[in-house]
């Protein structure tokens, strides 16, 4: 199994550009999450989803959008990129049946906004 796959691994954007970070999991997990990790800071939750068609905001949702049309995919959309969105983004998933927040993370997408 591939687990959680994120693309791209690296991306440089100009201020005002838009892009989508892709996330796919092949574990049939119900729950999926997007976190951002800034240097010296803890992971912050951007958006999460408890199943296809259901999404909700986390701690830092401003400037981002998500969709969950299938169980496998949970893309994160950045509209009008700003330097404050420079960060490493992690997608994660878990199975509701485990009853615990044992998250499986992707390898991350490093985004720089100049």
């Amino acid at each position: 199994n591939a687990g959680v796959t994120q693309t791209p691994k690296f991306r440089i954007l100009k201020i005002g550009q838009s892009m989508t970070l892709q996330c796919t999991q092949d574990m049939n997990h119900n729950y999926m999450y997007w976190y951002r990790q800034d240097p010296g800071m803890g992971l912050k939750l951007i958006y999460y989803s408890v199943g296809a068609g259901i999404t909700d905001k986390g701690e830092v949702p401003n400037g981002y959008n998500v969709s969950r049309s299938t169980t496998e995919d949970f893309p994160l959309r950045l509209e009008l990129a700003a330097p404050s969105q420079t960060s490493v983004y992690f997608c994660a998933s878990r199975n509701r049946a485990t009853g615990a927040n044992v998250l499986t993370f992707g390898a991350g997408s490093r985004l720089t906004v100049l």
Partner: protein, 112 residues
């Protein structure tokens, strides 16, 4: 406010030199404390879950313990391959929904 505080921020050990990492939390109604390991350029990898004070979990050279206010990750006779950033997270209920709050991590370097 900081609900999860990890210390120290960075720790350098010699191979074989045992030590402990600390994770203190100020949340009520803890619904689980989690330890993750993160290698450079990779996503965090799950290590342990602890639910109640007095609980302990072990895996190779690592042992995690939990009290009512903090958790320790004890590293016995570490090896260079134990070098990583160790993240602590607590699960709590806020506004009717559950959330996972992460600490900033402790970067461990084990020198040969």
């Amino acid at each position: 406010e900081d609900q999860v505080t990890q210390s120290p921020e960075a720790l350098r050990l010699q191979e074989g030199e045992s030590s402990s990492l600390n994770c203190s939390y100020t949340v009520s109604g803890l619904r689980g404390l989690f330890w993750y390991r993160q290698d450079p350029g990779k996503g965090p990898e799950f290590l342990f879950t602890l639910y109640s004070a007095g609980e302990e979990k072990e895996k190779e050279r690592l042992k995690a313990t939990l009290t009512k206010k903090e958790s320790f990750l004890h590293i016995t006779a570490p090896k260079p391959e134990d070098s990583a950033t160790y993240l602590c997270a607590v699960r709590l209920t806020q506004g009717g929904s559950e959330k996972l709050v992460f600490g900033k991590g402790t970067k461990l370097t084990v020198n040969p």
